[in-house]
Symmetry: D4
Subunit: 219 residues, 8 copies
């Protein structure tokens, strides 16, 4: 595996306020290893997404030691200095069912990589509407809402009629039959009758967090 | 157009409690005319669905006179004796938006053909949740609920967490882009996290009413 | 895994007459375990669906002991008191082929969780029509019919022309090529020329049973 | 429009026993006209399919005079000598609903172009099973069966379990929502649990007749 | 057409800071008319979207007089008081080709309904990269960017690597073959390798503007 | 596993000239075993399709001894008496590439189960046209042609312009990207410009053989 | 309609050797008119594609006079100086059926705009293989082949096994049912077993010609 | 496994300048082995694609010794004489991300099999535009460009506006959710607003190289 197999964009943060993250799903362990070596050589840190435990274990032990891994979301912080999170919670991360946890944690971890604390509310789907309404005031106190839902994806639509903040909806691949793969939730979110909801790719907790960070930057 | 082009199933009511309805969308005006003549010859009445005004006008004027037409739903009663509807409203017909009216009326007309009155509530979609909750008690007083929704189709899901009756969900073709054709609403309804919701074809108000009639028959 | 990862809706039965079931497919064994602990703490029972044997084995042995598991349908009763089923069989569960057994058993088990006995007829698909017609009278003696079919899904359509009860059709993922995944059966059922058939998601025996229970409640 | 815009395959009959037919749907009236002139110059006849009445009227009146047109199927015989049909009916053309007539007539006309009489039975779909069973013996007396069905396409499947002849199934574009375009009927026919059914393109009555002719040739 | 055919949500602005807009595509002219009468009765104004010129002309002339119509975007302001736009341009509305104009104007008009001026740059797609780069500084001076693109939808992706603001991407139905309907642009935007881009439904200029307004509200 | 889990159609051969085959893909080993026991009890034989080696090994050793298995096609003959094949080869089984072998062998084995020898020609796809043309005369000497092709599926189209017999085309799931799953080959075969080709489900060598047998029966 | 609605890329030819063409399908007549005025002001010429006759007629008569229109392909040359075509024919434009003419002419016209003559062979599809083989030598004498086919798209695959030049395949939207829209031809071309065939969008004769021009530029 | 299971096209190179490659994905190890034996017997060499390491290990050790394998691209050279590559680099192989490496190497290896050196540039996607622009001159020095991209596939579109050479775009299956399988990249490339880009199947590095070789042959 030669050095020129990747060409890292170290200036991205200065251009757009977000660093290049290492998306590991289609990279071999060998390639992830080489990329991390480049970060280490420059003494830079990075965020890794979709790093399976299996692939994690293919990484050199010296490199591995500098990785802080989260097995719920398959994300990792590499060569990351200790840092504390913001006190205030400007972003709410909501998910409709406990099956959506891995996506929610991908968002939470990304926010935390950039130093942002978040209000996290899990399993508040609309088939038990009270779970949402009892938290409404708390949700309204944040600046941006990431709303995660699989299956029919009704949560963000109901939310859209109740709150005024930006809502970034994340469809998840939870479900079977017609919902499998998350395309139904995705389409339902894009077709929502509630106005002004925006959507990211299926299971893309990372992207939703980045969109929230773009918004926070201008506030 | 010869007689043997259609073979009417006059005994269907005795077998399954529902008559054969004449689905006109893919029949020429000439063919519809011939079919109605057969009904007339036997002095039978029938329900016609998806009969466009244009096709209605291609029918012989003598036959046409015996047609009672509804232009919102494109349904017609042919050779139908006067009859009064039931006092009680055992079926609720709900729709999420006023764009869903034609489907709602197809259901209402079918119920009315079989003598059933219905509780009709239009434009109560979940982006303004109060419109649903203020009617909840009224809805709970019926035996069967037909819930009609296009776009993201969230109404029946929310309803499913609030009421205990049978819910027959009807997706509609209202919407554009990802929702166009009603497939997103259909899939969202089938993938609903609310338990025990059943679904019929897109825009199939007629079928939903028939399903409600099957249920009423066993109560 | 923290407590707030799930927010159980213990009041659902009082609202809609159906309890919250635990859908395990996208939950880790760890998460299922935590959820069952909450049920145990409140001394409540629950139904689990799509619980693979593999995931079952990840559950704490103390918790596991209180599980009654069915390996055909991958369903489980947790902390469930002994109970006897109704004598009468108000629901018929029919399936077209013996490949559809797991879906049929998901429906049968769900009915049985709620104390309902059922008339179960397997492998009566229409390529051997006599298998259906010889059972017709028996089927007509029930109140609600759950009709399960994969491949081309013709069984419920034929049935729809022969019986007057509510028919809840369940497409299954049985088949290959054009039928794989069950979408062809699903669409064929929704497009059926037989009136008043309603449909649930592919392989959704649980949902069909819930729909039947909603109907039984109003009879 | 120049001569070289089409290159007619006048030898096809000698190679495969079927002539080149003129498929008009995507040809301008001008082009159809030019093609027919070539046939006329060689004093050959031909079959035209999917020739709308509108396009028919764009053809030179001299050419038009030599056309025998059928408005149900949009087929035409050009420059065709009088001929009588076979006495026996070796092919059965069945259709499930009267909405499928245009496809049935495309098959019937093609057979008739090649001198074959056919047993034609319309509107015998399985939602009224008696309509099929009362004709079963008659159907069994033919050599090849063309079975045409839209919507859920159940007719050929039921037929497949009752007769031993070759069955050529033709899905039609009749239906709406999930069935629209005929893809559901097509897939249901290909996925049929009845063995040995073969299928042609949606609405392809012409192709089904050609397949029947190929079979008759070897008997 | 009776009053209860629509149930207007006049309180929506107080709840979420956005009014209910009248989506006219699937409403008859008669229904739109009735809805506007309700607004007039309460002396309220509203925004109408997807109002074709044809449907506009079906509206009562008295009502029509109070409509300010834009034929590029098919939007209308009803009963709207004169108002001036903000001096500053906090939102940029960019589109890749001049074929995307109608969508761009739907966004611009919606912003203008809420009093927001916008920086509008048309026809700056990436096949002529200089058109984008020469405007980069101007774009960076705004707070929120609405980026509209059909066909392959590459503009927002390139933009995402160059600017740090929130980007709301709108796919359009411009294109043919594989792009027709806008699904390719939609999917390309959701799959973008640029981080933090959010997406709305195909051709949904209205929704994009609403999302921008939600963001502006928290800044 | 109880007896009533399957209801075997032992009379099928007398009705339609084809026996019920056991399609094993979605049946557990336990269920296949039970079914074979029923055949043994009646001293009947049967054909099994899609029986993986893995599932084969789950069958009781006594039952297994009576199975003659083919690992290329995953088919098995159960309890089958010795028999010799017909001398003449009335069916040609052609495949485009050597990757299509398993489907070809499913057809060959099915024919052989019914005592029919076949002319088998493998790897004669049209990218090397000479491979087809040099065998043309041999192919023309048979009565029915089964033509198997994956990827773009061009072989049967070319064949259709060269021979006059019935052609049963079988698309295969060979290929990747746009062809994966065989849907492209399937659609290309259904859309073929060659007249009178019929098609069966993807990879359905069994069904193609059954269709050939139906044809042979009437010759 | 204001000037800034389009931003023409007049330098494109100097960058990539191809000019910006005006794709008219989604532009109003008013917009096309404004764009052509800009070309006139700079005394530049341009190529217009997908300009319907209807839209052509909406253009100012002065502008219209400078348009040379082709109604088969809906292309136009604007403000174009007389020019003669190359003597040699380096590009072959082949189409499978006479229904593909409009796409073929879009390619031919584009080549001609850039001064290139072409070898044009229409209606040489593989269902009459002799039509292709008799022209093989002529085809082999060119440098680049544009092969156009609808329905099952087999022509380029057969061609790919017979010639060594670059083949640019163009699927067309000719066909119905499974082929309608050209997606089947497109996929069949991309999945072709013949090596080294490249593909452009459905009906994209213009793009195929541009690709050929890119190739000619390097020879 | 018998000899006649494959019919190798040893003359292909003389016909079209490209040899038959062995596509191993759907062949068993046994079959690949038999094919290689045929090559060995004739002392011919060949290229193998999509040969997994697992399948490689099923090949006889004597045959295996004559294989030169590349594990990044799963390609192999069999019985290949030593040869040196061309000095000049007429083909550029570019890929957008380091996840696309396997496809890039399939192209590079194929070119190298035919003796062609190539300019290889990895990870130059447009979210960091400088990575592309700094290499532009180098890219412009080649004759043909193979541009490989997954996800939204924007790289070839941007490239198409900057260079004049033939561009063969290869979509890759890199991505998840809406991009999974590479269909979004494929469609985006086919719908590109940049003129004259041609496309091959998803992940088809081999085909792209063959297309480049076809072009080089005429230069």
């Amino acid at each position: 595996m030669k050095d020129n197999h990747s060409k890292l964009d170290f200036d991205r943060f200065s251009r757009i306020g977000l660093e290049e993250a290492i998306y590991c799903e289609f990279k071999t362990g060998v390639l992830v290893n080489e990329i991390l070596k480049q970060f280490l050589k420059k003494n830079k840190h990075c965020l890794l997404t979709r790093l399976s435990e299996n692939k994690l274990n293919q990484i050199d032990s010296l490199i591995q030691k500098k990785i802080e891994y989260c097995s719920i979301s398959n994300t990792a912080f590499f060569n990351f200095p200790e840092h504390s999170l913001s006190q205030d919670k400007k972003v709410a991360v909501l998910c409709a069912g406990s099956s959506d946890l891995s996506v929610a944690y991908e968002a939470i971890r990304t926010l935390s990589y950039y130093g942002k604390n978040s209000l996290n509310l899990f399993d508040i789907g609309v088939s038990g509407l009270w779970r949402l309404t009892e938290k409404l005031e708390q949700i309204q106190s944040t600046s941006v809402v990431i709303a995660i839902a699989g299956m029919e994806g009704a949560l963000p639509t109901v939310l859209g009629g109740l709150i005024s903040q930006p809502i970034i909806a994340v469809p998840t691949s939870v479900g079977y039959g017609v919902s499998k793969g998350g395309h139904t939730a995705l389409n339902a979110l894009l077709a929502s009758c509630s106005s002004g909801i925006t959507v990211v790719n299926i299971d893309n907790g990372y992207g939703a967090a980045c969109a929230a960070l773009r918004i926070l930057k201008i506030t």
